[in-house]
């Protein structure tokens, strides 16, 4: 069964540095998402992406965040200047759309030092 894959599984970065989290959604999916889960808290929606543009974003998704689909397979989340509070598990998800459920990757654990 096709899977959403995320790399790296764990990223350790110094505060203030830029970080790029990578995702390969399922190949015939059209809608892409990023969520994050701070330790001990809920899974929170960050951004959705469709037709090569952001379709919705949360209040968390401020100017330090950006997303890109640089080619036909990858979907990336960039954090420009990381803060301690960006430490979290980041999940990528994708779906074909309509009523189809979202499929999640295994996540990238981001640790900001």
């Amino acid at each position: 069964e096709p899977e959403v894959t995320q790399t790296p599984s764990h990223q350790v970065t110094q505060m203030g540095q830029e970080v790029i989290l990578r995702c390969v959604p399922i190949s015939n999916h059209l809608y892409f998402y990023w969520y994050r889960q701070i330790l001990g808290q809920k899974v929170e929606f960050l951004v959705s992406f469709y037709n090569n543009e952001i379709s919705e974003k949360s209040e968390i998704f401020d100017d330090q965040f950006s997303v890109e689909r640089p080619d036909g397979s990858n979907f990336t989340l960039k954090i420009r200047s990381t803060k301690l509070e960006d430490s979290a598990m980041y999940f990528c998800a994708s779906t074909r759309g309509g009523s189809q459920p979202q499929h999640f990757g295994d996540g990238t654990r981001l640790s900001i030092l």
Partner: protein
Amino acid sequence: AQSVTQLDSQVPVFEEAPVELRCNYSSSVSVYLFWYVQYPNQGLQLLLKYLSGSTLVKGINGFEAEFNKSQTSFHLRKPSVHISDTAEYFCAVRGANAGGTSYGKLTFGQGTILTVHP
């Protein structure tokens, strides 16, 4: 906007006992409902979903859930749990009309940690 409340943060049970994990939601529009499971160091795996039709839905690993519109609930049940069911379970909701201003974002509950003891 939607919100989800999972009433129990932790549920300990013994193996082969029945279990119910509770989920309540609020929404001003029709919704789709989901349960996901997260095993340690893994991503979110879909257990089951309610889209429409029969209010009792069956999922993987012997789990089922019942949609109750009047009580705005979507409780997850399993008649006999196994040690391998130990995991964190998340209830999630999204608006059913994803063609509008919402592109299908999921709103999650806080999660319930199910621990199955031998």
